[in-house]
Amino acid sequence: MKRNKRIRTSLALVFIVFSCTLVLIPLYFTVLNSFKPYPEIAANIAALPREATLNNIKEAWTRLNYPLVLLNTLIVTVFSAIGTVILSGMTGYWLARHQNRFTRLCYVLILCGMSVPFQCIMITFARMIGLLNLGNRYLGVIMSNWTFSLPMSVFLVTGAVKSLPVEIEESAVIDGCSPINLYWRIVFPLTKGTMFTIVSLEVLKYWNNYLMTQFILTKPQRRTIQIAMMSLFNEAMFSWDVAVAAVTLSVLPLFIFFVIAQKQVLSSATVGAVKG
C-alpha cells in the first residue's frame, strides 16, 4: 500500500516537472537567444551562446527607448491602480450601505459593464477620447483604466463591505463622525485585503493593455511598452536577434513583479474568476 503510494507520487511529480518544462520552454528560448548574435541563432537555436553578447539588448534598449517607455508604462499603471482603489472603494462602500432606488440603479448600470467589454464599444470610445481632448495624455489612459476596472472592483468592494458588521459604523455615526472620515478611518482599513486583490488583479491588465492605449497614446514620447513593441515589430529594419531581445526586455518587469507579489497574484486570480 505504502509503496504503491510512493510510486504514484513520483509519477505525478515526473508529470508535473515535465509540464512545467513544456510551459516554460518558450520563455527559456526567448531569454537564451537574446544573448546570441544572429548567425548563432540561425545555426542552432538551442545551443548556449558561444560568446554571450549584450549587443542585442543594447540595440533593443535604444530602439524601444526603453527607459522612457518603461517610465510611461509605470506612470499609467501606478496612477490607474491608485485611482481604482479610491474610486471603487468609496463607490462600493456607498452603494452597499445606502441602498435605495437611485443607488440600486447605479449598481446595476455599473455591473452592466461586466457583460459589455471594452472591445465592443471601442469605436465610439475612440471618438469620445477625441471629444474630451484626452488624446496623448496619460490622464486619458488612466481615466479609461479606472472606468473599465470599475465593474469588477465595485462588485468586489460591495461584497466585502456587506460582510462587515454595521454596528461599528453606527457607533461612529453616533460619535459624530462624518461619512468621509468614517470611510477612510474605519471601513477602508477593514477592506484592505480586497483592495490588495483588486490591485494585483488589475495591475497586470494595465501593464499589458494594448488595444485601449493605442487609441490614446500615439506620440513616440508617450508610448507604453506594448505600443513601443508594436512599432518595433512594424519597422522595416526588422531582425530576430533584436526583436527577441526586445521581447525579453518587455517581459522582464512583469516577472520581477510576479516573483515579488506571487502569492497575492495567485490568490487574486481565484477571486477574479467570479467575473467570468
Partner: protein, 299 residues
C-alpha cells in the same frame, strides 16, 4: 437583502453632498467613457456616418442587413467560434488535469503552481511576438532537426497553421489560470467525502467520477465561461501573431470590426457589427447565469 442594512426609499436632501462625493466622480466617469459610447454606438449603427463628414442620415437597419450579408464578417465570426471551441476544450482539460494531479500529495505544490501560472502574466501584443519567434525559429529548427514536418512548416502562410498557432498560444496563456481556479474548487471539497469513499473501498476512478466531478460542476461552468470570454474577445494576440495572414483567413471578429471601423472608415457599419457581437456576448453571459445558478449543487 441583508436585514442589517436598512433599506431607505429615497435620497435624503441633506445627503446629496455626500452622494456627490462618494459616487459622483465614479458615475460621471462611467457615463462619459462607458455608457455614452455604448448608447451612441447603438445610435450610430442606425446611421450612415463615416466618422469624418459632419452630417449623416438615419438609414434604419440597413447596416445590419449589410452585416448579415457580409461574407468576411461571417468568416471571421466562424473563425472566432471554431477557435473558441478548441481553446475552451483543450485549456480546460489541461487546467483540470494539472489541478487534479497537484491536489494529491506532492512536495513543493505552490512552487509548481506558480511556475505553471507564469505565462499568464504576459499579455497584449508581446504574447504574440514572443510566440512568433518560437514558431518561426524554434519550431522550424526543431522540425528540421527531428524530421517532424508539422513543426518545420512555413508558419502563418496557410490558414491551418495560423489557426493552430493561435490555439496553441491561447491555450498556453489560459491553462495555468484555469488550473488555479480548478485548484481552489478542488480544495473546497470536504475531505469527509473522500474518507467515506475510501472506507467504502471506492477506486480512485470512481471517486473522481462520482464525487470530485459532480461537486466541481460550479467551478467547471465558471472556467468554461472564462475561457469562452477570453477566446471570443481575442484581438491583441491576433494582430501580433498572425495579423490575419494569409489573406485575412485568420481574422477574429474583433479584428474584422476594427478593420471595418478604422481601416475603411465605415464607423456606422462597424458599430452595427459591434452591436451584433454584443448581442452574442449577452446571450453567452445570460446562459452562464442560468447554468451557474443551476449548477451550484451540494451533496
Amino acid at each position: 437583502m441583508d436585514k442589517k442594512t436598512s433599506v431607505k426609499r429615497r435620497v435624503k436632501p441633506g445627503d446629496i453632498g455626500n452622494y456627490a462625493l462618494f459616487i459622483g466622480p465614479t458615475m460621471l466617469l462611467f457615463s462619459l467613457l462607458f455608457l455614452f459610447p455604448l448608447v451612441s454606438e447603438i445610435f450610430y449603427s442606425f446611421t450612415n456616418w463615416n466618422g469624418i463628414d459632419p452630417t449623416f442620415k438615419i438609414i434604419g437597419i440597413k447596416n445590419y442587413l449589410r452585416a448579415v450579408r457580409d461574407e468576411t464578417y461571417w468568416v471571421s465570426f466562424w473563425f472566432t467560434i471554431k477557435f473558441s471551441v478548441f481553446v475552451v476544450v483543450i485549456s480546460n482539460l489541461i487546467g483540470f488535469f494539472w489541478a487534479y494531479v497537484l491536489s494529491g500529495d506532492i512536495p513543493y505544490k505552490n512552487f509548481w503552481r506558480a511556475l505553471i501560472y507564469a505565462p499568464r502574466i504576459i499579455g497584449g501584443v508581446v504574447l504574440g511576438f514572443l510566440w512568433r519567434f518560437i514558431f518561426q525559429n524554434v519550431f522550424v529548427q526543431f522540425g528540421t532537426w527531428s524530421g517532424i514536418r508539422w513543426f518545420s512548416q512555413q508558419w502563418f502562410t496557410t490558414p491551418e497553421s495560423s489557426f493552430w498557432a493561435l490555439v496553441i498560444v491561447m491555450t498556453w496563456s489560459l491553462s495555468g489560470y484555469l488550473m488555479i481556479i480548478y485548484n481552489s474548487g478542488l480544495a473546497a471539497i470536504s475531505r469527509d467525502y473522500y474518507e467515506a469513499a475510501t472506507v467504502d473501498g471506492a477506486s480512485r476512478w470512481t471517486t473522481l467520477k462520482s464525487i470530485t466531478l459532480p461537486l466541481l460542476k460550479g467551478t467547471t461552468t465558471r472556467c468554461l465561461f472564462i475561457a469562452i470570454n477570453w477566446a471570443m474577445l481575442l484581438y491583441d494576440t491576433n494582430i501580433s501573431l498572425t495579423n490575419g495572414n494569409p489573406y485575412r483567413t485568420s481574422e477574429g471578429v474583433m479584428m474584422n470590426i476594427y478593420a471595418t471601423a478604422f481601416r475603411s472608415n465605415q464607423i456606422s457599419y462597424g458599430a452595427a457589427k459591434s452591436v451584433l457581437f454584443i448581442v452574442v456576448l449577452l446571450i453567452v453571459s445570460f446562459s452562464q447565469m442560468k447554468l451557474t445558478s443551476r449548477n451550484e449543487v451540494t451533496l
